[in-house]
Amino acid sequence: MISNILEKLKTGNITPEEYVEKTFERIKKVEEKVNAFVTLRNKEEVIKEVEEKVKSGGRLAGSLIAIKDAISTKGIRTTCSSLMLSDYVPPYDATVIEKLKKEGAVIIGKTNMDEFAMGSTTETSYFGPTRNPWDIDRTPGGSSGGSAAALAAGYVELALGSDTGGSIRAPAAFTATFGLKPSYGTVSRYGLIAYANSLEQIGPMAKNAEDLGILYSIISGEDWRDATTIKFSLEKEPYEIPVKGLRIGVLSDIMEMSDKVVKGSIENMINKFSSEGATIDYTKLGYAEYALPAYYIIAMSEASSNLARYDGVRYGFSKYNQGSWVEVYSKNRGEGFGKEVKRRILLGSFILSAGYYEQFYIRALKVRRLIKSNLDQLFSKYDVLLSPTMPILPPRLGEVINDPVKMYAMDINTVIANLSAIPALSMPAGFYNNLPIGVQMMGRYLSDSLLIGISIYMEKVTNLYDLTAPT
């Protein structure tokens, strides 16, 4: 727990040097197998910064944090795990980084991810796949797989990820950690390298619910630099939520689409909720079969637009610089982007082209509205909608990446929250053969505090928190 480390640093029980040394030792021991980091900062620099921050104070004074490599960090290269940005060093900090620095957090490094966050396994990274600390032959999920692995491997207590269609929750579920996809507009995206702007949020990742809440309260808030953020007030901490009387709707259609062992673990979790006094009801999400295509149409359309800027002129991969600009752009983009990214750019460009726009994009927006209004109805009956986070156990490396349809299908449970802007939290529900299984809770728009509060309560019931893989 971060409060322990903060206390030790504050009282001098542990020196900044010891704290950082210990962290780097752990990384040195397992990183070769895990590959959680794209960029690890220089140890001496980190020690110096922790020393300074412990003195200057703040809610995270001196604590180390791992940052997904899609979030801009001034002076630290930010690659999005792509060859295209492998040398790119941002001249500015994302808003969330500014906020973390203000509270005394120290960035230890930038974590691996699927290239431009396009993937659910962290295998599409230009810097090689990240492996799951719980089983080195398996993926930690994605796209924020590096951040989740950095937690599960015992490097750090805190990490940031970003979630476009499940990119925080999938890795949280596969690594027995906690992850929140916040309500859209509560965390600034300024500095987050865009994949699909209307769907994604930066979110906290941690090893326990309490730390998750602290991190969320620090990074959230309205930001004038991101017009999609909103004014809102967080409920007061600590989040004391009685689970007794909580109305839970279990999404049976999503449950039916999940692996048996996953389903079993979630049922176990449901029983625990029930014994704590929550009322359980089985319901259906509806439109489940349309959610995934709608999600991918919107995501790919936005991606094709967002990724147009990478042409090697101002920054980024520019190995080719002779010839007409059309030749130069084509060669740089052809080589700088990986296969999955190119696939999504091509599909997105196709969807947005004249004639198809109405047929696909406008229709996807309709599905989006339908899902939203359907959820509004469900939330008039339930406080929380519960389902497995991922319908499967962590897949082995290579198992899904070569089958895009199978890979996209993994996101069925998670994309709903992105399409409808609502918060969704994944927490550990159990294990099967030492492989983590996560449960997802979705709540009303802006009920992030409620979800955090429930997880703070339930982690004590399940006793599944602060887990480190025995790598």
């Binding site: 390298i193 637009s305 147009a308 800027r309 600009w325 059309v326 947005l352 004249a354």
Partner: protein, 471 residues
């Protein structure tokens, strides 16, 4: 029938900042690429935020051009790859599915004829391409200056209602005057108002001439294109749909590319810029604060100063001239005479030398003094015209007259002596003058020359007629 339509691009250079970032909108004279930030450079993760002042200016223009204003401000991404584009899409507006322009369906009256306005868009300007040789055609490379990138533009598109070169020029001048009166654009700044001119003559396709810099050039382009297209058609050469470039040095248009079909810009709503509601009250508040428009100002001039409608319209065609007229009118109350001097002498003198009103150093006080001296018969109209350039150069009329002894000669005996001398030398002319008033003017001219223009013209004429009658 000749059909002409204009697409006028107006720089919102009176705004303090660019359209979507806090960089200064005034980049003239700054070193290349010094007025930039992550947003206008299109860096990864940067997010545009609307400068609301741009919306207010656009609404004022829409009102002035009698347009319907949209209920919502929506921004669209217009995709095309080009080296001057920071993001390889332009944030613009689009009148199509799922989108709308800020205003449409307007009307402007040009000397009795209506020109319909199709739509007005708010959009961002790309970076400036700089060619080392000065020309795109023979440069080996292109330099890019992003100071201009992201500066706000209004795109004002007319229906093809303009019938000739002169009408197009008047349209441009009227539009310019409206923009200046609304303080939307400092149109004196180079490149602040550019037009794409669409011209088709009977029997030919539409030809577009891109990026024409001034209203005078617009007139020249149209004259040239009508002649070129008509000549081609009479010779049996087909006029195809194409885009041409105006070569301002050689005063010809040259082909750039054939347009076989509409380019597919893959328009889609910018997810970073949420829709902005434009309420009736919002528009009303803007209208209530709107400066006086040129048409209203001309009407007021006729009423307040009792000058002719023609003079009033000429004065308001250039805001600076109308302002100067009103300031001078505070010191001098023969408004008709004042308007006359400003239009026929002051403005003409400047125009003949390609100078702008802003270049003149004449003060309202000095113009008033000059006119009063004329009224008091201290100087002749000839002297007024003679010393006007010096007044424009900032000199005081009283001092010029005193220094150079230019006070009018009203001594009749003196004028008579000079007249007799002249007639003595021009005996033949004097005889002819009996029957030909033009010769009288010739004789008066001779006398004026001898008195350096100081002889009172009325006395001089009287005396000459008297002497001729005596002959």
């Amino acid at each position: 029938m000749t059909k002409i339509g204009l697409e006028v691009h107006v720089h919102l250079n009176t705004l303090r900042t660019k359209l979507f970032c806090s960089c200064s909108a005034c980049y003239v004279g700054k070193d290349p690429n010094t007025v930039t930030c992550p947003v206008c450079l299109g860096l990864p993760g940067a997010i545009p935020v609307l400068n609301e002042e741009a919306l207010k200016k656009a609404i004022m223009v829409a009102v002035a051009l009698n347009c319907k204003i949209a209920p919502k401000l929506l921004f669209t991404r217009k995709h095309y790859f080009y080296p001057d584009m920071a993001k390889n899409y332009q944030i613009s507006q689009y009148d199509g599915p799922g989108s709308m322009a800020i205003a449409k369906d307007g009307i402007v009256n040009i000397s009795g004829e209506n020109v319909r306005i199709r739509r007005i868009n708010i959009e961002e300007d790309p970076a400036k391409s700089v060619y080392p040789t000065g020309s795109m055609l023979n440069s080996n490379y292109t330099l890019l200056d992003y100071n201009r990138s992201g500066v706000g533009l209004l795109e004002i598109v007319t229906e093809p209602d303009i019938t000739g070169a002169k009408e197009a020029r008047i349209f441009m001048e009227k539009l310019r005057s409206i923009l200046e009166h609304l303080n939307v654009c400092d149109c004196e700044m180079e490149g602040s108002m550019r037009a794409d001119v669409n011209i088709s003559v009977e029997g030919g396709e539409r030809v577009e001439v891109k990026n024409v810099g001034s209203s005078k050039d617009v007139e020249d382009v149209i004259k040239y294109e009508i002649a070129r297209q008509r000549a081609a058609i009479t010779q049996g050469i087909k006029i195809l749909r194409e885009t041409r470039h105006w070569d301002n040095d050689r005063k010809v248009t040259i082909p750039i590319r054939l347009k076989e079909s509409e380019e597919d810009y893959r328009y889609f709503p910018d997810p970073d810029l949420p829709p902005y509601e434009i309420s009736d009250n919002y528009v009303k508040a803007i209208i209530s604060e709107m400066p006086e428009l040129p048409d209203n100002r001309a009407k007021r001039f006729v009423k307040q100063y009792e000058i002719t409608e023609y003079d009033a319209n000429v004065l308001v065609m250039e805001k600076a001239l109308a302002d100067f007229f009103e300031k001078s009118a505070k010191y001098y109350n023969n408004y008709k005479k004042l308007a006359n001097l400003l239009i026929n002498d002051y403005l003409r003198w400047l125009n003949d030398r390609n100078l702008k009103i802003a270049d003149s150093k004449a003060t309202p006080e000095s113009i008033a003094k000059l006119m009063k001296m004329l009224d008091n018969e201290k100087i002749t109209i000839k002297i007024v015209k003679q010393i006007l350039p010096e007044i424009i150069d900032g000199k005081d009329p009283e001092e010029i007259v005193k220094e150079r002894n230019l006070i009018a000669i009203t001594d009749r005996s003196y004028i008579e002596r000079i007249a007799r001398e002249v007639i003595e030398q021009e005996k033949e002319a004097a005889k002819a003058a009996k029957n030909d008033p033009r010769v009288i003017n010739y004789l008066i001219g001779k006398i004026m020359k001898k008195t350096s223009g100081k002889a009172d013209p009325i006395y001089t004429r009287e005396i000459v007629l008297q002497i001729i009658n005596e002959l």
